[in-house]
């Protein structure tokens, strides 16, 4: 800590500079006095004694300086001097300072904002114990769903995992019996789920094996948010009973506030309680699996063991497990693997913006350096060495960068929460993005780097001067080095901007093409809401829904009403299908399809076009032959045959089988930009046997097509539901337009940000080119005046000035095109319907930049032609 004491002493000295100097002075004078006395004792006269003492002491002033160098502020004092000097200069040229600081604040702020998102989403470790040991298991594909019996067998046979848990998010429960009924989000988990993640419940305990089996006493762990919202943080909640879906659950714990895993859930419930629901080994019930690998075991070893277990299961259960493999993936990759690439592309782009900002500020500094040439010469002439001059100039740059950074952090603070609010749910952990210590360190680092980047070249350049030449006034022709440096800056600015614009252009066009995709349905004027029925009596359920549809249909403004268990872009079931009369496909090779169970008016309400045959009618009942409507993708499985009248079934046994009565248009189920069309078929809700309705209606969408603003009917429709059953929870009220917008939100997000960066870059680059050209013209005023005196026409002058600027701009465009060709390849899978090297985009952007450059040159060029030759020749 010695250096720290020294530093503190220097700081103290800096603050009491005069005191320190006085003390040194007094001490040195006392020394001379004592020597004088000694001399007098040797017999000298007072005068002689003093003179001799003073002489032997030497130059008091330089001695004081020497002493002060040790005792005073030292390097801190130089720094302080430089800072004060720089500060005075910044205040003296407020225009320059404002532009430079704002440019830097924009660049640094944007970088800080994006980095704080990258930090929260990608860099921060997950809030679990030793997260690097956590993996997920997925069947067929990484992140895939796992069948529950397979999970149970895999868990029993594996040896390389400390613990494992099945997780099924997106469960829903009706919470009743304690005030207003509420629809809760739930999560099914295995025993030990919380300890697996290394999370201790805030209150109570984790699930144990005895909770996690069929027939166990139902238990529940509450989320912190739900506990405080509905129970006012009651510390005595553990042991109490709550009612979920008309069943009583014992609260055994409360999760800590910071706990988060996948989808938010108000309640966690042991999956083993309802294991019966998931007993079909061949199904994909949306269960994910998380596991902790034992310390010292690699993911590769664990994967090898898992492969062996799955191979055994394949032999044991060929009907369901043929071709079924399971893949391990790190938890981190599982959650954020998809967003890594777009985020890194954004970070890279915003880095380019900062580079452009640096180029602009460097350009400003270069221009200013030429006006400060005399100041530099005077300082050098007075004895400042080169490193001292460079240090002073760099201090100025750092000061600018730090002020810019301070402003930038404010910008980022606001920008980060703005961005986070744009898409809270589509990017995991985005909501946690904030400016933390790591972000501040990052900002400090980039601002110092920035200061060095834009300051170094001008500083080196300014300090390298020829004294005699510089002190001569009227030296207007700037040196070749400075000219070259400035040209280089313009070229790189144009090239960087082109790269950003091309990236943004490609994303914007992809986005437009996604929006142009025909989803197969009509999203306009369509109100959707979900209801969940908890009634064991199928007859009552059927009566409820038919009455509800009838009542809503009578509301003014309603054109059609329907119900469905699935919804395009939201949810659907995904079973296999078999065509009657065809040989059974090999196990594992059965074609899959998306199944919707809908009421007859669904096609009318959704605006799905009927291509052939008919849709369901009131004549289809549980007592008539089962009907199915298929989409055009499923129809293709019949090749050239007419599918109408053929039969399909959902199970290999072939029963029950359904008559195909109609073919409708395919709808986009997962994304508007999905690459292949998964076949779809529709079953008639009215033909479902009453005993199966309780299982089917846990989540039903009520669709209302209107000819007025759909949300204006919300309360009327809710009123009809409440009139039939006042305890019926209604949730997720949205228009179909909102659902479509939400499905493209991540794409819109990266497109918008990149577009904003590109526009900022374009603005900065045009300012840069304009500034450069104005300066060049101002410097050549004399030359231009001379040319005009000698008979040059306006056109010649315009050509001269514009030609110079455009040469640079076009060089920048050429470099930028090459760089973009290399860089846009990294964003290939963010694009839709457009090639990463789309020639039209490249040509258009190049043309746009060239035009902007032309304008930026033209204005100063015009000014040059207005020069009065007489004034110009006198111009000094």
């Amino acid at each position: 800590m010695k250096w720290f004491n020294v530093l503190m002493a220097r700081f103290r000295a800096l603050r009491r500079r005069d005191d320190v100097l006085n003390e040194i002075d007094e001490e040195l004078r006392a020394h001379i006095d004592m020597e004088t006395e000694a001399n007098r004792e040797l017999g000298m006269t007072p005068d002689e004694a003093h003179r001799s003492a003073a002489k032997s002491f030497g130059n008091l002033g330089s001695m004081k300086d020497l002493a002060y160098e040790v005792k005073g502020g030292g390097f801190l004092e130089t720094l302080w001097q430089d800072l004060r000097y720089s500060g005075r200069l910044l205040v003296k040229y407020p225009g320059f300072t404002l532009i430079a600081v704002l440019t830097l604040a924009l660049g640094i702020g944007a970088n800080t904002a994006i980095f704080s998102i990258v930090n929260a989403v990608l860099l921060r470790p997950f809030p679990y114990h030793a997260p690097e040991q956590l993996v997920t298991l997925g069947e067929f594909v990484p992140r895939g769903s796992v069948s529950y019996p397979n999970f149970v067998d895999w868990r029993a046979q594996s040896t390389l995992f400390d613990s494992t848990s099945a997780v099924r998010g997106n469960e829903s429960y009706n919470f009743t019996g304690a005030g207003e009924p509420e629809r809760l989000q739930g999560r099914l988990v295995s025993a030990g789920f919380f300890s697996l993640l290394g999370v201790n419940p805030l209150l109570g305990r984790d699930f144990v094996a005895d909770d996690d089996r069929p027939g166990a006493n139902p238990t529940v762990i509450l989320s912190h948010a739900f506990w405080s919202r509905r129970f006012g943080n009651d510390p005595g909640i553990v042991g109490k009973q709550i009612t979920l879906n008309n069943q009583s659950y014992t609260v055994i714990g409360v999760a800590p506030q910071s706990f988060q895993y996948g989808l938010d859930a108000d309640v966690s419930i042991p999956i083993g309680l309802t294991a019966e629901r998931f007993k079909a080994r061949g199904s994909d019930p949306g269960i994910s699996v998380v596991a902790r690998i034992k310390p010292g075991v690699s993911q590769q070893q664990a994967q090898t063991e898992t492969d062996m277990i799955y191979a055994r299961m394949e032999q044991q259960f060929p009907a369901t497990n043929t071709g079924r493999r399971a893949y391990l993936m790190s938890l981190h990759e599982t959650f954020v693997g998809d967003v890594r690439q777009p985020l890194l592309i954004l970070l890279g782009s915003v880095g380019l913006v900062l580079l452009i900002a640096c180029a602009n500020v460097a350009n400003l500094l270069l221009v200013r350096a030429s006006t400060r040439k005399r100041e530099m010469s005077v300082r050098v002439a007075l004895g400042a060495n080169r490193s001292r001059v460079i240090r002073q100039l760099l201090t100025e740059s750092f000061l600018l960068a730090i002020i810019g950074a301070a402003l930038g952090i404010l910008l980022a603070y606001w920008g980060t929460s703005f961005i986070a609010n744009q898409l809270p749910n589509s990017v995991p952990r985005l909501a946690e993005a904030n400016v933390d210590l790591r972000v501040l360190v990052f900002t400090l680092a980039i601002s110092l780097l920035t200061g060095l980047l834009f300051g170094l070249a001008p500083a080196l350049q300014a300090s390298r001067l020829n004294l005699t030449e510089a002190l001569k006034e009227g030296d207007r022709g700037s040196s070749g080095v400075r000219q070259r440096l400035r040209s280089l800056l313009v070229i790189s600015e144009v090239a960087l901007t082109l790269t950003l614009l091309v990236g943004a252009g490609l994303l914007i066009q992809s986005f437009r093409r996604v929006l142009q995709v025909d989803p197969g349905f009509n999203a306009d004027n369509l109100l959707t809401m979900q209801v969940s029925v908890n009634n064991p009596d199928g007859q009552q359920i059927a009566a409820f829904f038919s009455q509800l549809q009838e009542n809503v249909r009578k509301l003014p403004g309603v054109k059609a009403v329907a119900i469905s268990n699935g919804l395009p872009l939201v949810t659907a079931n995904h079973p296999t299908f078999f065509i009657e009369g065809r040989p059974r496909p090999e196990p594992g090779k059965e074609p899959g399809a998306i199944r919707y169970t809908v009421s007859p008016d669904y096609f009318q309400a959704m605006g799905i076009e009927l291509l052939r045959g008919r849709v369901f009618t009131a004549h289809d009942t549980p007592n008539t032959p089962l009907a199915v409507v298929i989409d055009e993708a499923l129809a293709q499985h019949f090749q050239n045959e007419d599918p109408i009248g053929k039969r399909i079934s959902q199970s290999s046994s072939g029963t029950p089988s359904y008559d195909i009565v109609g073919v409708v248009r395919h709808v986009e189920q997962y994304n508007l930009d999905e690459q292949e069309k998964t076949p779809q078929f529709y079953l008639d809700f009215n033909q479902i046997p009453a005993e199966r309705l309780p299982g089917l209606t846990r989540r039903i969408n009520l669709l209302t097509r209107t000819d007025v603003e759909p949300l204006s009917l919300t309360s009327a429709v809710r009123g009809e539901i409440a009139a039939l059953n006042k305890d019926q929870a209604v949730f997720n009220v949205r228009t179909m337009d909102q659902i479509v917008a939400q499905s493209v939100a991540p794409r819109r997000f990266s497109m918008m940000l990149l577009a904003v960066f590109a526009v900022v870059a374009l603005a900065l680059a045009s300012i840069g080119i304009y500034g450069m050209m104005s300066y060049a013209v101002a410097q050549r005023t004399r030359e231009i005046g001379l040319r005009m005196t000698l008979g040059a026409q306006t056109g010649n002058v315009l050509r001269l000035v514009i030609g110079h600027g455009m040469k640079l701009a076009l060089a920048g465009v050429a470099v930028g095109v090459v760089a973009s060709l290399a860089l846009t390849r990294t964003m290939k899978n963010l694009l839709f319907g457009i090639s990463a090297t789309d020639p039209l985009t490249f040509a258009g952007i190049a043309l746009l930049l060239a035009l902007v450059a032309l304008l930026a040159c033209w204005i100063p060029a015009r000014r040059a032609t207005k020069v009065d030759p007489l004034v110009a020749l006198r111009y000094e």
Partner: protein, 110 residues
């Protein structure tokens, strides 16, 4: 820096000052006199070297400074060896001795 024209290394000067102060607190003028007496008039430290060295040593915490009065009642700044300074003096003396021993051995060897 000294009238013996020997190029006294800074560390050596530090050691001389510490040694002089080890006999008791003293002001700058006295340090010069004491070094001269202790070296049998062979060493004279110049003021221009003394004060920067004193300040450096003070920053390092080897001596502490306090204003006081000298034998004739004049106000002067007195320097006093601290505990850290005593330790430093021992270290420097030891290394100096070692060096002297090595040099002596080398000379005997030739």
């Amino acid at each position: 820096m000294t009238n013996t024209k020997a190029d006294l290394l800074q560390g050596t000067l530090d050691m001389l000052i510490l040694k002089a102060l080890s006999l008791g607190p003293l002001h700058g003028y006295g340090v010069i006199q004491r070094i001269r007496r202790m070296s049998d008039e062979m060493l004279t430290v110049e003021q221009g070297a003394l004060y920067p060295a004193l300040y450096r040593i003070e920053l390092k915490g080897w001596v502490s400074a306090k204003w006081g009065n000298n034998e004739t009642g004049r106000r002067a700044k007195f320097y006093k060896l601290t505990r850290a300074g005593q330790k430093q003096l021992r270290i420097e003396e030891e290394s100096w001795d070692r060096l002297a021993l090595v040099v002596a051995k080398m000379r005997e060897a030739t």
